[in-house]
């Protein structure tokens, strides 16, 4: 009966339309070099205000997964990965294009992306519900440590510089304290501006940091045009050949597992998964030389893994509220906007919505492959959209999107200010994702911190660490910081070796 409820909920007109629109928009965004899944999800976030929670989340997850897949098109056809997650795909994909075998490359990348995406959807379906039981054991101390761990790990893994990542996360946590104090009602850091009393709305902040700042980056080179190789549309074959599928099937199975595991790790995104998977495929291959020379196994490994991350990065998000990737951090905001709190409740009280979204995600991956192969022929036209039109179009959509949140001009100003902050952060190599995560996790962290202070009879630290979950989270936090330091040192050593 419950399954029927989920199915009837999923296959309503509005939900199907959300998936179709989400997949198409995501593909276009992914196909355009310079535009990312983060930008797409951030831009569409305000549009979801007027939608039912299921439709809203389906729209966003469809954009997420198809943008990652769409990134493979420019990687294969013009050697310019649409998203960082497709960088490994370009190694073999572009070689195949130069050999005139772009159609085979696109077919394999589509099969691998759909395969990886669907496996990650099923992983989400089977792993998330039992894992969410852990959230029942969470109290103030655990929530505080969870927020700290989530911030630390995304701060350390999503950036190249973990100190800058931590600074960005801390600034986000601090910004979340602006406005009336939840307990006393005392205005904090408002400096007399009444508009700040309700705090900083994170939706315009997200749009500013990811969309507006990207538009400013695109503006730096407004006349940039993409050089396309000519490819004949009449030679186009729609479905992957059996021999191609047979050749990459094992690769796809292994890469899906790699992608799912990397995706579950908070902070490790599609780019890490695709490189790890590509290297593993190369390592276990009998013919290592073919990698980098136009191997379809290389394309399959990279594309399968980066799409396998999309679903599994939602596992820590839906169960514990820790985003598995930057896009998942924005999706956390979407959940909260629609009154959905990550944890066990998401799979019980709101089970109808959650399971519909998971099944919809699996369906979106299948649909994405169909649309991808259909629109691939028109890639040339889409990729030719110049920066001088893209940049003002993104700014316009950012303004109208942030205004649509509450018909409030103050949100638009917030978006523009965060756009400038985001632009400067990118220029200074500060990752914007931890700042947004801090802004979202701030209230959870502060509430946990203050409740722990009240409940702690002796020392606050002793109280917070006086249970197994907090202790494990504390150890994981320390391990993540130490591993980041280790990677920084090894990176430095390698850099110095390169220079010498």
């Amino acid at each position: 009966m419950e399954s029927l409820d989920v199915l009837s909920n999923l296959f309503s007109y509005s939900n199907i339309l959300s998936i179709i629109v989400g997949v198409i928009i995501g593909l276009i965004i992914g196909m355009l070099p310079g535009l990312t899944a983060n930008l797409g999800v951030a831009l569409l976030l305000p549009v979801t205000y007027g939608l039912e929670p299921t439709s809203a989340l389906l729209l966003l997850v469809s954009v997420y997964t198809s943008a990652i897949y769409g990134g493979s098109f420019p990687a294969i056809l013009i050697n310019a990965p649409g998203t960082s997650a497709s960088a490994a795909t370009a190694l073999d994909g572009y070689i195949l294009t130069k050999q005139g075998k772009f159609n085979a490359a696109i077919r394999v990348s589509t099969f691998a992306s759909v395969f990886g995406g669907m496996i990650s959807g099923f992983a989400l379906l089977f792993i998330a519900p039992p894992l969410s039981l852990i959230s029942l054991k969470f109290g103030p101390a655990q929530y505080f440590m969870l927020a700290v761990f989530g911030l630390t790990i995304i701060g350390t893994l999503s950036s190249g510089n973990f100190v800058k990542g931590l600074i960005a996360g801390s600034i986000g946590l601090f910004l979340s304290t602006i406005g009336s104090d939840l307990d006393s009602g005392y205005p904090r850091f408002t400096f007399g501006f009444s508009g700040l009393l309700s705090g900083i709305n994170f939706v315009p902040a997200v749009i500013g940091l990811f969309s507006m700042s990207q538009a400013l980056i695109l503006s730096e080179d407004p006349l940039k045009t993409i050089q396309l190789n000519k490819f004949k549309a009449e030679t186009w074959k729609f479905l992957p050949k059996f021999i191609e599928v047979q050749k990459v099937f094992l690769n796809c199975c292994v890469s899906s597992v790699v992608g799912v595991l990397v995706g579950i790790l908070p902070g490790a995104g599609g780019d890490i998964a695709s490189w790890v998977s590509y290297n593993e495929a190369k390592r276990f291959s009998k013919n290592k030389v073919e990698f980098g020379q136009g191997s379809i196994k290389g394309i399959a490994a990279s594309e399968c893994a980066n799409n396998a991350v999309t679903g599994s990065s939602l596992i820590p998000l839906l169960t514990l509220g820790i985003p598995g990737s930057t896009t998942a951090a924005i999706l956390l905001g979407a959940l909260l906007i629609h009154g959905l709190q990550p944890g066990r409740e998401l799979f019980t009280v709101n089970g109808n919505v959650t399971y519909s979204v998971i099944w919809g995600f699996i369906f979106a991956n299948l649909f994405m492959g169909f649309v991808g192969l259909t629109v691939a022929k028109y890639f040339g036209k889409i990729a030719k959209i110049p920066n001088y039109f893209l940049a003002p179009a993104i700014i316009t959509l950012s303004v109208v999107g942030s205004y649509a949140i509450g018909n409030n001009i103050q949100d638009v100003y917030t978006m523009v200010i965060f756009g400038l902050i985001g632009y400067l952060m990118r220029k200074l190599n500060y990752p914007p994702a931890p700042l947004i995560l801090g802004l979202i996790l701030g209230p959870i962290a502060e509430t946990g911190f203050r409740q722990s202070q009240i409940l702690a009879k002796e020392s606050l630290i002793v109280y917070i660490l006086n249970n197994s979950i907090s202790l494990v989270l504390f150890i994981l936090t320390v391990v993540s910081i130490l591993s980041a330091i280790y990677f920084e040192i090894t990176k430095k050593t390698n850099h110095e070796k390169d220079i010498s």
Binding site: F174, Y388, A391, T396, V399, Y403, R450
Partner: protein
């Protein structure tokens, strides 16, 4: 300006700002000051760490100079001005001026497709937001 100097300057600015904000938040009542002070202390400590890393780590490395593109700043200022104008004209009026002024700043020669794209974008926004989501973009009274 070199990236090393800039990292140091940004670290100093963050450190000074966090110190000032700690002094401001000391007057807040009860437990409302504890969390922000903890975060500000953390930002201060990390800023010092960033300065030290910048001095010792990058002193022997060739770092690209930091540049903010002039056109990006112009676009940002134009966006700000357009949002201000929205309150006097309306959304479409203000953004029409924005798009037309970009023809000059981007030094565009072939504007046929640019204008066509602008019209399509405006139409899409009108249909999705004005009709679909009931966001008032034409009536400027709501934009104030």
């Amino acid at each position: 300006m070199s990236r090393i100097s800039l990292n140091i300057i940004v670290g100093l600015i963050l450190g000074i700002c966090s110190l000032l904000l700690i002094f401001i938040s000391k007057n807040y009542p009860g437990t409302s000051k504890n969390f922000p002070i903890t975060m500000l202390l953390f930002i201060g400590i990390l800023s010092i760490a960033q300065i030290i890393i910048s001095i010792y780590r990058y002193k022997n490395l060739n770092q690209k100079n930091f540049e903010i593109n002039k056109i990006s700043l112009i676009i940002f200022c134009l966006s700000f001005l357009t949002i201000y104008l929205m309150q006097f004209l309306n959304f479409f009026g203000a953004f029409l001026i924005f798009f037309l002024s970009l023809i000059y700043f981007y030094k565009l020669k072939n504007i046929k497709y640019y204008l066509l794209g602008t019209i399509i974008l405006f139409l899409a926004i009108f249909i999705i937001f004005e009709f679909g989501l009931n966001v008032s973009l034409i009536n400027r009274e709501f934009l104030g």
